[in-house]
């Protein structure tokens, strides 16, 4: 086991081991649990940084273990994987702090943090999967580890949401399994290779189209593509940290990441275009973008509005992937990071409003800016980013997507982007208006004397930091290790080799 093989496993272990230990810790051991969590998160960040530095200099980190004849469990930290791993590691660190603060006195925290760590392990596993079978393995592990988090509160609503979540995700898992098995039967291999391995495999194109449909349907459930998105809004019943990390970053991104892997590393984007499947994907993505934004308009509950916004935003990634062209690909891939940063900030702020002042509805947010200025400032930065205003990160991704669409001659996509940006504005600006320019209607408890911050530090710092990251990602887009540059590196190395 050389050092290059050990590193991917170590990254997985930094969240798996603390998770398993936490399961067996007694409920009361709060400090030990927090230390374990944070230590795990920090070590993961360090290891990811090492790998980032290594991969950018051409190192290769991979480990594989034969499961069955012709089937290997393989982890490979290529440039695309690291993009997602870095995002997950950073946001897991922040969300852990947030969760410790948020769940101060609630029961079942040992179970919560145990499954929380398992879930991050699954997400990192999905990112670093070297072939479709390892991807499927961690994809299903993600389903299993997120179910207890969705039903964490054990209320009837939580269990109903959990059952619906299972119905969708296990159904999706079955479709993905069938697609994978059929693909293996047709092509004999499942290893992700740049520009795909399906082209010369002799399988007939209708079969490959059917396989593509099955695979995308499987991952589409978690990427919340329109017909398969039903579980996301209802899963908002979960506690805020769960909605923040899982339904903004881990779960939906795993789905979007799956689409990227399938289109680029299984079929190869040119061959997929030949098959005509990318047009179908683009259509579904476009419909989802518009549909998600429209439904978000109608939601009064803040978290449900954010949920529908996630449904539409994730499909930007799918759209970027579906439009054949380097610029659109960069736009789609970089949006994976940007949307994560922005959406987690929004969910953090929503959690703060609910936890500190008990506000759940958009209509209740009048004048919240005065009472909780920092949280609302972070909310504003993220909201404007979502709309796509410079200099926030959202602008970068929409800019590339627009250029890509024009370059590929898909002018209709430009209209979709413009229309959805307008819709974003339509459902975010009223919130900002209420928060800053309206007088508070309800009488909230004033900030307790002698306490400087508007709410607990553990709840306040994460959204502020992520808001800063949104700004930095936008302003310093062209700096060497920024998400945009890294996405460009990914696209250049993975998809358009000379």
């Amino acid at each position: 086991m050389s050092e290059h093989e050990l590193l991917p496993l170590a990254v997985l272990a930094t969240s798996l081991l603390p998770g398993l230990v936490i399961f067996f810790l007694p409920e009361g051991a709060v400090r030990v649990r927090s230390v374990l969590n944070l230590a795990g998160a920090t070590v993961k960040l360090v290891l990811v940084a090492v790998m980032l530095w290594g991969v950018s200099r051409g190192e290769n980190y991979a480990v594989s273990y034969p499961l069955l004849p012709g089937l290997t469990f393989s982890l490979r930290a290529d440039s695309l994987a690291l993009l997602f791993v870095t995002l997950s590691a950073q946001l897991w660190f922040l969300t852990t702090i947030y969760a410790i603060g948020y769940l101060e006195s609630s029961p079942n925290r040992a179970r919560f943090f145990g499954f929380f760590s398992l879930c991050v392990t699954a997400t990192v596993g999905v990112a670093m999967a070297g072939n479709l079978i390892t991807f499927l393995l961690f994809y299903e592990l993600l389903t299993l580890s997120t179910y207890p988090l969705v039903v964490h509160r054990e209320t009837a609503a939580a269990r109903a949401a959990g059952n619906r979540y299972l119905a969708y995700t296990i159904g999706g898992g079955a479709a993905l399994l069938l697609g994978t098995a059929w693909l293996y039967a047709e092509t004999g291999t499942l290893t992700f290779t740049p520009r795909g391995f399906v082209d010369g495999s002799g399988a007939s194109s209708p079969v490959l189209a059917a396989i593509f449909f099955l695979l995308v349907a499987g991952v589409g459930v978690k990427a919340a593509l329109v017909p398969l998105h039903g579980w996301l809004p209802r899963a908002m019943v979960a506690p805020a940290p769960v909605s923040a990390l899982l339904h903004a970053v881990a779960v939906v991104k795993a789905g979007a990441f799956g689409i990227i892997r399938i289109v680029y590393d299984v079929f190869g984007v040119e061959y997929a275009a030949e098959l005509g499947v990318t047009d179908a994907l683009a259509a579904v993505a476009a419909v989802t973008i518009i549909y998600g934004s429209l439904r978000a308009l109608a939601q009064d509950d803040l978290k449900r509005r954010l949920a529908f916004s996630t449904v539409s935003q994730v499909s930007y990634i799918a759209l970027g992937v579906a439009i054949v062209g380097p610029l659109a690909s960069i736009g789609g891939i970089v949006h994976l990071v940007h949307q994560g940063l922005m959406k987690i900030t929004l969910f953090f702020c929503a959690g703060n409003y609910a936890e500190t002042l008990g506000l759940h509805k958009v209509s209740e947010l009048d004048g919240v800016g005065r009472r909780m200025p920092l949280t609302t400032a972070a909310f504003t930065v993220a909201a404007l980013g979502m709309i796509g205003l410079p200099p926030m990160a959202g602008f970068i991704s929409k800019w590339y997507l627009g250029l890509g669409a024009i370059e590929a001659g898909a002018t209709w996509a430009v209209f979709v982007l413009a229309g959805s940006s307008a819709l974003n504005a339509a459902y975010f600006l009223p919130i900002l208006h209420r928060a800053w320019f309206r007088a508070p209607t309800a009488a909230w408890a004033p900030v307790p004397a002698g306490v400087r911050a508007e709410t607990a530090l553990a709840l306040l710092l994460p959204p502020v930091i992520t808001a800063l990251l949104v700004l930095l990602a936008g302003v310093l887009a062209s700096v060497q290790y920024s998400p945009q540059e890294w996405a460009t590196l990914v696209v250049r190395r993975e998809f358009y080799a000379p």
Partner: protein, 472 residues
């Protein structure tokens, strides 16, 4: 100690242990643990011996067949003896905590004789010897099922007894016809001759019918759920995990070697019965309101999967044969763990009605996670052994182009997810029974170890298949 003398030891050791268990009024717990661990050691030695030679044989009494009886072990027997040997000590550990006094003594005696019969069956190379081992297995299973049970357990055991005897007699009639036509009872001498024999088809039909009844396969499964649901946890674990597998193993031996996978109609019939079993019994499991009945119906459903794999062996070869073995091995581990865990829940709640399971996940976290892990394997979710089996089964079904089988496999997986999560969901909520008895820790650890190994075996797919070797 030569490899061939390992085979008789695998039978003598548990039988002697069982006899001692019945004779000695005290010390049943340590005896049970000691003998079952010794049995595991012998099983590992057999696997080691087989790794080199590929086949081990021992002619009893030194008489050559057709006069004497031959004991033979190939890859499949070694795998099954190994997995049964691995489960036995954990069931023993659980029983030594769950039982005491008279009940522990009879459980120790009967369970070890049951284990001896099982080992004897997996290495028997003679048709009549298989009948006697099947009968010994059936009777000890019936006695175990009735052990300490109430009226419902007695009624279920009586029906189990009648079903297992009828199955054995139908099998024996088939053996009689084969002996009449060939003059020998030895499997090796009979291999490949089956189809051409006068009355060979009738004999095969009788034997298959008998074995399907003894294995409680779908249309003939009526006696299993009450018997397994009303027995005590370690007994229902032993019955569901081990007892119902022996007739299926025998069916595989007869069909693949003696009848050389003859008559495609048989393959289609087995596939149809298997598919119907998977769908109907998974549905029944979903509808159950008692946890143990749910798990018992899940057993019959999983047997349907095994039949599907068996039906595909002649057409799909090694993939289906590997699927059969991996599905069987992971079902043994997962079902034993699941029954023990559900037994813990029922013992704590005082009943096994699903809606009455109170806040179990707080007070029995190990059992709740055992249910989850066992469920992962039963659903065929990666990275479990169940997934490996399901994957190979899918490959076999796609290779032979049976798309309706692919659909059945996937729908079966979804239904399994429904009833497993029905179990898991009930451990998440509800009120709490303050005075519930605390369970000895080792009962929970036994369940968790079994369930975790069902998932762990997912990473041992390659060595298991290498040990298994080619289709007989």
């Amino acid at each position: 100690m030569s490899a061939s003398s390992l085979l008789p030891l695998l039978v003598l050791w548990p039988l002697a242990g069982g006899l001692l268990g019945l004779l000695l009024p005290r010390g049943a717990g340590p005896l049970l643990l000691g003998v079952s661990t010794g049995n595991l050691a012998l099983a590992v030695a057999l696997v080691d011996a087989l790794a080199g030679a590929g086949k081990v044989a021992h002619s009893v009494g030194g008489w050559s067949t057709p006069l004497g009886i031959a004991l033979r072990a190939d890859g499949l027997s070694a795998v099954l003896i190994l997995v049964a040997g691995a489960v036995a000590p954990l069931l023993a550990l659980y029983a030594s905590a769950a039982y005491a006094g008279r009940e522990l003594r009879y459980f120790a005696g009967l369970f070890l004789l049951f284990l001896g019969a099982l080992n004897g069956l997996f290495i028997a190379g003679d048709l009549f010897n298989l009948y006697v081992t099947l009968e010994l297995l059936g009777l000890s299973a019936v006695a175990l099922a009735a052990l300490g049970g109430g009226a419902a357990a007695l009624a279920a055991s009586l029906r189990y007894l009648l079903a297992t005897i009828t199955g054995s007699l139908a099998y024996l009639l088939g053996v009689a016809l084969l002996y009449r036509a060939t003059g020998t009872l030895d499997l090796l001498q009979l291999s490949g001759q089956g189809p051409a024999l006068p009355g060979g088809a009738v004999a095969f039909a009788l034997m298959v019918a008998g074995l399907l009844l003894k294995a409680a396969v779908f249309p003939l499964h009526f006696w299993l759920p009450p018997a397994h649901a009303n027995a005590s946890p370690p007994v229902s674990a032993a019955l569901s995990a081990l007892a119902v597998k022996a007739p299926l193993y025998l069916l595989l031996r007869l069909w693949l070697s003696t009848y050389d996978g003859a008559w495609p109609l048989v393959a289609e019939l087995l596939a149809a019965i298997g598919a119907a079993g998977v769908l109907w019994c998974s549905l029944q499991a979903v509808l159950q309101r008692r946890a143990k009945l749910l798990v018992a119906y899940s057993t019959v459903a999983q047997l349907g999967y095994l039949l599907l794999a068996l039906a595909l062996v002649p057409a799909a070869g090694a993939a289906a044969y590997g699927a059969f073995t991996l599905l069987l091995v992971s079902h043994v581990l997962a079902k034993a763990g699941l029954f023990l865990a559900v037994g813990n829940l029922a013992r704590r709640a005082g009943h096994d009605r699903l809606d009455g399971f109170e806040r179990v996940v707080q007070h029995l976290p190990l059992s709740a996670s055992a249910i989850a892990l066992a469920g992962v394997s039963l659903m065929g979710m990666p990275p479990s052994g169940g997934f490996n089996g399901k994957w190979l089964l899918l490959q076999a079904a796609i290779a032979t182009g049976d798309w309706w089988l692919v659909a059945v496999i996937l729908v079966g997986g979804l239904l399994a997810a429904v009833y497993i999560f029905k179990l898991i969901e009930h451990t998440f909520g509800g009120s709490d029974r303050p005075d519930a008895t605390a369970l000895p820790r080792r009962m929970e650890w036994a369940a968790l170890t079994l369930a975790a190994s069902a998932v762990g075996v997912g990473f041992l797919g390659q060595p298991l298949l290498r040990l298994l070797g080619g289709v007989p």
